[in-house]
Amino acid sequence: MSMTGAPAAYDVVILGGGVNGAGTARDCAMRGLRVLLLERSDFASGASGANSGMIHGGIRYMLSDRHVTELACRDSGYIQRIAPHLLFRIPFLMPFASAHQEASLVERATWYAMEVYVGTYDLYQPLKRGKPSTRLTAEELYDLEPGLRPGLAGAVTFDEWGIDSHRLCVSNALAAARHGAELRTWTEAVELVREGEKVVGVRFRDRLTGERGEARAPVVFNATGAWSPALARKSGAVVPMRPGKGVHLTLDRRWSNYGVACIAVDGRQMFLMPHENESIIGTTDDDFYGDPDDLEATADEVEYLLEGVESFVPGVRQARITRSWCGLRTTLFTYGMNEDALSREHLIIDHGARGASDHRARGAAGGPGGPDKRGDPSKVAEGLDGLLSIVGGKLASYRAQAEEATDRILAKLGRSAVACRTHLEPLPGGDALPDAAALAEQYGVAAPVAARVIYRHGSLAHEVLRLCQDDPRLGLVICRDEGILAAEVVHCVRHEKVRRLQDLRRRCRLALGSCGGLDCARIAAQLAGRELGWSGEQVRAELSDLLSQGWRERRPILDGHQLANEELLRGVHRGLGGL
């Protein structure tokens, strides 16, 4: 990093530590490029950390483009292969609801069509080790899920894979580091460095220390998600995006082992589904014009979600909601369409291109609405040769998107093609799946806790638990919701690029359980402070910051026992700690 005319320090600077940025960093590093990744907050702070947590196979594209579905399922299978510990199966029930006492012919035909549709999806399920769909009668449905409202006529079932998207993102970033990439979190790109019409680098600023620097690279890959339009605009480029806000609610425990597809008041598809050891309600999709750093669920959105689920699961209001969280979809811009109808395809834009060449993503041969209605965004920018941006996409296809991005980056650099291996080489911890009971026995920890560590770290659970052997005090379980060991906090701080206490929310789910940090926040802050050399002031400041994050998530859903919990939390942190 130099301010003079020294030779380029990197081949590519990647902006954004979401799943696209981290995935591309990994692929580039694996193919021998020198990579610098800059993330203004922490990995998965944006959409990559606020999505529904599923790597689904694109069932909705089967009608328009089966090829897309096949690729998505195949990629889903790849993710299983490289990170089996992060995945868990979610069987879905799609109930049939009739508007009348007796189902009409049209309704029956619709249900048969649904059965056929999902049955066709079965053809792709083997690509991702999914099970075949089934058709359930009403009696069978209520036997499997007694919590559904009466009057349903049956259901069709299929399954998808759920994933902790924060861990997926971090794992990709750490894999990139293992292959030589340099990672800087809490560091924002201030402006692009240009020489004439070429982009030659990036000036950045560390938000925690204030340190400024410059990185030179012939290619800059803008994967900053909802922040990319603003970033691009600073340099006169255009990233055509229609940010779509999505809100989810978390229940304090698994309500069911099966997901239930529900219909909201406005006819939209919604779900109540198990996610790891909780359940999630989701989601909304609304155009968002505000500040991506300032997202909060509104009372309307919360009520919309609860009402939608309640129409199929009447008992949901008895459940305890512990969090509400929001993210922005980086949807490709099209004017004149409803949010739900927008394409979920991705697009890699070359801001140096002039003219009509279409850089649309492979396989995205016209989504709903057709190519004409989209316009050609890649025609707009000029004079920024070397800058590539990615818009849109799905979590499930991140690896394929990163592969394509890396191919483009290599081409831009004029290098010869190198085979992509991201679907073959396991992510850190993904090479083997330890057994929880055996690990519990070996390291002397409780089996459920071992299970949680394995879920988050895979084969690296051995390293985490070895810390307990070296220092038995670290065998303390600091969170009784998530099963977080003191050793896990120390491991994450030492090895997973933790700079702030709130990063641990994304690494090991600190303070995300129903206790809201009552059990674990102060101890984790103490442990992190010891590892990172924080002063007492800093420990308290980081705790305060962690609590602010939590407040933003809990404020929209305070009710019942959650409210009592919050009262206690405020008493301890504000009344006692003065935070």
Binding site: R317, G475, L558, G578
Partner: protein, 445 residues
């Protein structure tokens, strides 16, 4: 006790600090008192100190600049905030000093005698909080009184307490007149690959014969020069089960180590909080209050009418509601804010008074919870100040502003207008309103 019907003068519902003060005050006025409680509440998980209020002119944590007495601090609060219970009781606020003295006297086995200023007690966060009353086990750690060095002591196996963090917190205040501090570690309670790490387990371990003495001896060997007090995590024993005489863990450690010993205030799980609740229980039992264990079902008749609870039928001329707020469930929100026993109107304190049309007391209780909160968690949060509205005699008011019943009173956290857990006045409100309610209820004979 013969027969199922219990006739008494005053019935208190709720056995935390507020209910206990109400019951004991009524006893002190020679009334017959019965107290029914279901389970511990906020008192049992409190920090262990009793805060009444602090000098608003001083910066937070600037204890040497804080000049006024706890009583004056309460008067400041009342002057600034007319919704606060300190203001609601009107002239009753003049009894705050007597209320503090009364509480200290009733719980004298546990509570150190009051001073005419706030004590400043450290917390595990490395912060210092002001309090009108603290437990005897904490008094030696009052930062205003310490002369010399504070040795902050951690148990090596107890990750939950970071002695260095607390010592740094004291050091930060050195410029304001705080003593110097140093952290030391005791390698105690560490077994084969396993240490005692949870607060209640530590407290129990320290109570065992010889344990506190061993801790004191070990401490004596590692004390830095000039140490005037050893400040421990808040785990120094749970106290006697029966309220009888006993040598406390801090005393035993101090004797063995040859230095004054204190503990910090506590977050959750709270050993001092449970100690306080047990002291309250013991005092109630010893003072002739009829204690009933059970739950009062919603919709009971009211003062004068029989109340079926704990297998008895209780008839009392005056009732005092001391059921607490969200934690013990005296106030609950299930879609709408409610007081759980009588369905009394719930006010949402701190609502802006800019509107000229007065809001009917019930309407705010139905608003979405988020609309009763502020985005900035440090700002005033009306939702957390919700509770029952009372007149100057602590009688709950109906939607028209009239007492619901002439002999029904309320005290403590069930009252609206303050946030007991977080605004530094919770215990003060409990002590003052408990005492006033008790005397009012007894006076109505």
């Amino acid at each position: 006790m013969a027969g199922p019907v219990l006739e008494t003068d005053v019935l208190v519902i709720g056995g935390g600090m507020a209910g206990a003060m109400a019951a004991l005050s009524a006893r002190a006025s020679n009334a017959r008192v019965a107290l029914v409680r279901r389970s511990p509440g906020a008192t049992a998980v409190s920090s262990g100190v009793l805060s009444v209020g602090d000098d608003p002119r001083a910066l937070p944590g600037d204890f040497f600049a804080s000049r006024c007495s706890p009583g004056d601090a309460a008067r400041w609060v009342a002057a600034a905030d007319p919704d606060h219970p300190y203001a609601r009781v009107g002239e009753g606020l003049g009894e705050i000093e007597q209320a503090i003295a009364f509480a200290a006297h009733e719980l004298s086995a546990l509570i150190a005698p009051p001073e005419d200023r706030n004590r400043w007690i450290m917390t595990p966060y490395g912060s210092a909080i002001p309090c009108a009353l603290c437990q005897r086990s904490m008094a030696a750690g009052d930062l205003v009184e310490v002369e010399g060095l504070v040795a902050v002591v951690g148990f090596r196996g107890h990750l939950g307490f970071d002695a260095r963090l607390v010592a740094q917190g004291i050091d930060r205040l050195e410029g304001l007149g705080a003593p110097r501090a140093e952290a030391v570690e005791l390698a105690l309670f560490m077994g084969q690959g396993e240490s005692i790490a949870q607060p209640f387990a530590l407290a129990q371990a320290l109570e065992a014969p010889g344990a506190a003495e061993a801790a004191g001896e070990l401490l004596g060997k590692v004390l830095p020069a000039g140490a005037a007090v050893a400040l421990f995590p808040p785990v120094l024993g749970l106290g006697p089960q029966d309220g009888g005489p006993w040598k406390s863990v801090p005393e035993r450690i101090a004797a063995a180590a040859g230095i004054a010993v204190a503990e910090t205030a506590s977050d959750v799980p709270s050993v001092p909080g449970l100690r306080l609740q047990r002291a309250i229980d013991a005092r109630l039992a010893a003072s002739g209050v009829e204690l009933l264990q059970g739950e009062v079902a919603p919709g009971p008749g009211g003062p004068g009418a029989p109340l079926e609870v704990a297998g008895r039928s209780v008839v009392a001329a005056s009732w005092i509601l001391a059921t607490g707020r969200y934690l013990p469930g005296g106030i609950r929100r299930r879609g709408v804010l409610q007081e759980t026993i009588f369905d009394l109107p719930v006010e949402v304190g701190g609502w802006p008074r800019r509107t000229s049309t007065p809001m009917s007391t019930g309407s705010l209780a139905r608003r979405p919870a988020a609309s009763l909160t502020d985005r900035d968690e440090r700002a005033l949060q009306p939702l957390f100040r919700a509770g029952v509205r009372v007149d100057a005699q602590l009688r709950p008011l109906d939607v028209d502003g009239r007492p619901v019943h002439p002999r029904l009173h309320a005290c403590g956290a069930v009252l609206g207008g303050h946030e007991p857990a977080a605004d530094g006045t919770g215990m003060g409100v409990a002590i003052l309103t408990g005492r006033l309610a008790g005397r009012a209820a007894a006076g109505k004979l």
